[in-house]
C-alpha cells in the first residue's frame, strides 16, 4: 500500500511528534508513505472564507501533485481531508469552476482530473486488514484506558461528502458520527466512552480567524465539561488544531477552576504508534501541555 502523505502545515511545524508517530506506524503496518511538495491544504476555515477561488486553486494544485504520481492521499488532519475532498467534488461536478481552475493550473503545467482518493489516517487504519494487525500486535495494548474520541467537524461534515469513504459509503442518519477511531482504539484494547455533545465543534477556528480566544475556549470548555462528566481518561482527536484547542483549553480552564480534572489529549497517530511499540520520547509526547502520565500508568499496570 503506497500513499502520498499529506501532513498539512501544523503537524510538521508545531507537532512533529505526530509526524514521527505516523511514519512509525506506517513502517510497522507496511504502508509506504511518499512525501511530495505540498503546501498548506489550504484550511477550510481561513483562506476559504477570505477568497474561495484562491482556496480552490491552491487545493487543486496540491491534488495535481499527487495525481501526477498516481497516488491516493493520506491526511493527518480533519481540515486537510475536508478541503481536498470538497475540492475534488467541486471540480469534478461544476464545469465553470473546473475551467476556471484548469486555466490557472495549465499555466503552471498542471492538469487536474480528480482521479485520486483522499483518506484520513483513521479511515485507512479502520480497515479490517489493519485492525487485525493492530489487534494482534501486543507491544503496548491500551487495556484499561477509558478513551473518548473527538473527530473534529471537518472530518465528518458534510455527511454527503465525508461519509462516502468511511462507514462503507453508506450514511445512516441514525448515526451521524463516524466510528473509525473507535474501531482502531478498540482493536488496541482501549475502552470507548461516549459523552454528550460529541459532535460539537472544538471552537478553534473562532480564535484563529478573529483572535477571540476567550469565546473560542468557552466552546471548548463546554466539551471538556461533558467529557469529564462521562469520566474519560484520555481524548483521541483526528486533527492537530482540535488537539491544540483541547490541550491548551484545559490549561486555561484549570486557571479559572483549579478543581477541574484534566485528561491528556492524543492525536490518533500517537496512540497507534505508542501501542505498536514506539517509545514515548521518540514521539515527543513531552510537547503535550497536559501530561501524558496515564500512558505510563498503563504500561506499568
Amino acid at each position: 500500500m503506497k500513499m502520498a502523505l499529506f501532513t498539512g502545515c501544523i503537524i510538521p511545524i508545531r507537532y512533529p511528534g505526530m509526524e514521527v508517530a505516523t511514519r512509525y506506524l506506517a513502517r510497522k503496518l507496511n504502508i509506504d508513505l511518499v512525501d511530495l511538495k505540498f503546501s498548506c491544504c489550504p484550511s477550510p476555515s481561513g483562506l476559504k472564507e477570505v477568497h474561495f477561488d484562491a482556496w480552490l486553486a491552491l487545493a487543486a494544485r496540491n491534488l495535481c501533485l499527487t495525481e501526477e504520481k498516481g497516488l491516493d492521499v493520506m491526511t493527518l488532519c480533519a481540515g486537510c481531508t475536508n478541503t481536498l475532498r470538497e475540492t475534488t467534488h467541486i471540480l469534478t461536478g461544476d464545469e465553470k469552476k473546473r475551467l476556471f481552475v484548469h486555466d490557472i493550473l495549465g499555466r503552471h503545467g498542471k492538469n487536474f482530473r480528480g482521479s485520486m482518493e483522499i483518506f484520513h489516517l483513521a479511515d485507512i487504519l479502520a480497515r479490517d486488514e489493519y485492525l487485525d494487525r493492530m489487534e494482534s500486535s501486543h507491544a503496548r495494548p491500551l487495556r484499561g484506558l477509558k478513551i473518548g474520541t473527538h473527530y473534529g467537524c471537518h472530518y465528518f461534515r458534510p455527511a454527503s461528502l465525508m461519509a462516502s469513504m468511511m462507514q462503507n459509503g453508506e450514511f445512516d442518519p441514525h448515526f451521524p458520527l463516524p466510528e473509525t477511531m473507535e474501531l482502531i482504539l478498540e482493536a488496541l484494547g482501549a475502552e470507548i466512552v461516549t459523552y454528550n455533545r460529541q459532535d460539537l465543534c472544538c471552537g478553534a477556528a473562532l480564535n484563529i480567524n478573529t483572535g477571540m480566544a476567550d469565546e473560542s475556549f468557552a466552546i471548548t470548555r463546554e466539551k471538556i465539561v461533558w467529557m469529564n462528566d462521562a469520566g474519560i481518561d484520555a481524548l483521541a482527536v483526528a486533527c492537530p488544531t482540535c488537539f491544540n484547542q483541547f490541550d491548551s483549553g484545559q490549561v486555561l480552564l484549570r486557571r479559572i477552576d483549579k478543581s477541574v480534572r484534566c485528561f491528556p489529549v492524543f492525536h490518533i497517530a500517537e496512540l497507534v504508534a505508542y501501542a505498536l511499540g514506539c517509545e514515548p520520547q521518540a514521539l515527543n509526547l513531552r510537547a503535550h501541555k497536559i501530561p501524558i502520565s496515564i500512558l505510563d500508568a498503563l504500561t506499568n499496570a
Binding site: H174, P176, N196, R197
Partner: protein, 824 residues
Amino acid sequence: MDHEDHLPQEYEEPRIGVYVCHCGLNIGGSLDCEAVAMHAMNLDNVVYTEHQLYTCSEPGQEKIKKDIAEHNLNRIVVAACSPRMHEPTFRSCIKAAGLNQYLLEMANIREHCSWVHLHDREAATEKAKDLVRMSVARARLLEPQEEIDIPVIQKALVIGGGVAGIQTALDLADAGYEVNLVEKEPSIGGRMAQIDKTFPTMDCSICILAPKMAEAGRHPNIRLMTLTEVTSINGYVGNFTVSVMHNARYVTSDCSACGDCSNVCPQFAPNEFDIGLAARKAIYLPFAQAVPSKYLIDMNLCLNKDGVQVCEKCVEACERKCINFNDTRSEETFRVGTIVVCTGVDVFDASEIPQYQYRRAPNVITSLEFERMINAGGPTHGHLIRPSDHRIPKSVAFIQCVGSRSNKTNPYCSNVCCMNTIKDSLLIKEHWPDTEIKVFYIDIRAFGKGFEDLFQRAKRLGVQFIRGLPGEIVQLNSGNLRLIGEMTLMDRLYNMETEMVILSIGLKPSIGSDVVRKFLTMSLTSDGFFMVAHPKLRPVDTTSRGVFLAGCAEGPKDIKESVTQASAAAARANIIMNRGKITVEAITARVQEDLCTGCGACTKVCPYNAIYLNQNKRAVVIDAACAGCGTCSAECQYGAIIMRHFTDDQIMAQIDAFTEHEPEKKILAFNCNWCSYAGADFAGIGRMQYSPEVRIIRTMCSGRVSSRFVEYAFARGVAMVLISGCHIGDCHYIDTNTYTEKRYNQVQKIMEHGGLDQERLQLVWVSASEGQIFQEKVNEMKRKLKNLSMDEIKRGMLFFGQREKKRQERLTRARQKLAIKIQA
C-alpha cells in the same frame, strides 16, 4: 367487455355550419371575425356560416339549433373560446337539435389566437382562418359516437378499517350496498383507537369510535375481514375482481374474549398498540375495545412453531376450546363494483433525528406514546410518567415539526401536530396543573373550527409557546434533558432543562398502501400520499374511475376531515353503483381485427390494462377500462387501432388543412387536453403574447402523437413541430407521456441520420398553469424559424416524403400478408 361495433353509417355528405364568435371584443377586437366567416364559406362542405357576438348565449345557441333544422346541417364548427370552456355547452346545444353530440368541433380562436396576438390583427386573422380550416377538415371526418352503458356490481370494497374506512363502510351499508371491509390488523380502529382525546372537543376518542366500530362489526351489510390483506385487484369500474389473503388467527370465532388463555401464556412481547410501552402475550387481544373482540396468536412469538407443539397452556385454559393451532391462511376472491381506499398513516420514526435522542434518552417520548400513557386504559393507567424513574415530571417540553416540514424527513406539514400538542398540554394541565409546559414551535397552525379557542385556552393555563426549535437535546445523568436553541422572537439563546420531552412526530403514508397502489395504478403526489383526480373539484376521486380515496391515505388530516372524506367517498361510490349501470366514455380505442398482426406492442403501453391479446392473438379493447389516451394507437405500426373521435385521418386532415398555404412559415404544435392545451389556454387567459406561427392540434394525451404525424407534417413542409404534454409523473393517463418522449427521441435520431436540423422538432412539458413556458417556447421557436432556409425545408419534405411512401408500401404488404393468412 368489447364494444359492439355499430353498423357503418350510411355515408352522408357533410353539411357543415361554421359559427365565428366575436365574444364581445375578446375576439372581435383583435381579429376580423367577419373575414374568417367569409373565408369559411369558401371551404368544401361548408353550407352555412355566420359570425355572432356571443355564440354561447341563449340566442346564439337557439340560432344554431334553428340553422341545423333549416339548413339541414349535420356538422357544426364553432370558432370561439377554448373547447375546455364551452365544448359541453355546444354539445348539449346540438344534441337538443337532434344531432349526435360528437358532431361538434371547436376552433380555439380566443385563448389560442385573439388573446395571444393582441397587436397583430392581420396575422391573428390569418391564423384564425387556418384554425377554422383545420376544424372544418376535422368536422368532415367526425362520426356520431354512442356512449354505452355497462352493468355495475352493487357491492363495494373498503380497504382499511380506521375511522375513514369504518365511516365509508357504514354509509354504504346503510345505503343498502354489500360492503367488504378489509383490514390487515387483527382489529379495526386504526390510529383513532390509540388516541386518548380528540381536539377541539376533548372527547374521549375510543368512546366515540367504539360504537361505530361495533356497528361496523355487526352491520348486516358489512362483511368485516380483519387480519386480511388485499393480494390482487383486476378489472375496471363496476367490475373489479379482488383477491384477499386471510391470515391465520389460530383462534376460532367461538372466542368470548375472556382472557384466560392470555393469563397463562408464558411468552411476552412489546405490545404494538401501546407502541411497545407495555407487554402482551403471544396469545392476545389487540386492545380492550377490539372489533372483532377475539384473541389471536402471534406465531412468531408462540413456542409452538412449525407444527411442533411444546406448550398447551392456552388450550388447557380455554373453556370454549377455541384455540386452533392448525389454522392456516386462506385466499378468497370476490367481485365488487367500487373500491374505497382508506389505508391511513404510520408515524415518523424519530430516531432518524439522532440529535433529539429518541431511543437514546428514556425520557424523550413521541406524541403517540404520550397518547397511550395519558389514556386511562393505557400502560401507565393514565399517568404521565418518566420512563427512567416512573416519576411524574414537573416540567415537560413539546417539540413540534419532528419529521415534518423538512427535506430530510417529510417535506409536508402533518396537519394535526400543532392541535394535538395543544390538546396534550391541556390534558397535562388538567391532571397536574403545576407542571411547567413549554412548546417549541416554528408556526402554530390552529386553522379549523374551534382550534383557535383551544389554543387560547392552553395559553391562558400558562402553557408557554417558544418560537425556535432546539438544535439538540442533551441527556443529563438525572434523566433530565437540556434543550439548546434560540428564541427567535427575542433574539435570545436558551439552554433549558426539562424533565421530559415529547416529540410531536409527523405522519407518513402507511406501508400497506404501497401494495394497494400497484394494483390500482394509483398515482402519488410529491408528498408520497395518494393523488386525487382534482385537488379542488374531485377531492375523493382517484384517476381510476370507480376507485375512491378517504382519510389520511390522501394526506395527513384530523378525524373530522377523515370522516367528511369518508362520507364523500361513499356518496361518490353510490353514484356509480346506484343505477346498477354506468355510461362509458365514447372516446375509446377500437381494434380493426383484420389489420392486427398480434404483435402486442399496444398491450405493453396501456396503463389501464385495457387492451389485451385474445386467444386468436388479436388485440381486444375493454371499453369500460379504456381511458382514451390513444397511446396504443400511436404505438401500433400497422394502423390497426382507431381512436374514436380522434382518428389518425382527422389529425392528418388537420395537418393537410393548414399546410395548404406557406407551411414553411408555420409551427405545428400537439397539445394534450389535460395539461399543455390547458397551459396554452392559461397563456391566453394571462394575455401572454407570442408569435402567431403556431397551429395547435389537440389530442387527449401527448402519447397519442405518433411519429407518423410528425414525419407527415415535415413531409408537408412544416417549418417546425412542437410536441407538448404533461410533465413526467403528472400524466393524466399515468405514464403514457413517457412514450411520447421515446418517440420524440426516435424521430430526433431519424432527423440526425437524414442530415436535418434537429432543432426543428422540440418537446416541452407544460402543466396547466405553465402558460409562460408555452409562450417562451413558441417565441424561442420563432427565433429559430427565422433562420431556417427554404433548402432545409425542402430537404425535410423530400426525406420524410420518401419515408411516408416507404411506410405506405410496407403497410400495404403487411395487410396483404394478413389478408392471405385470414383467408387461409
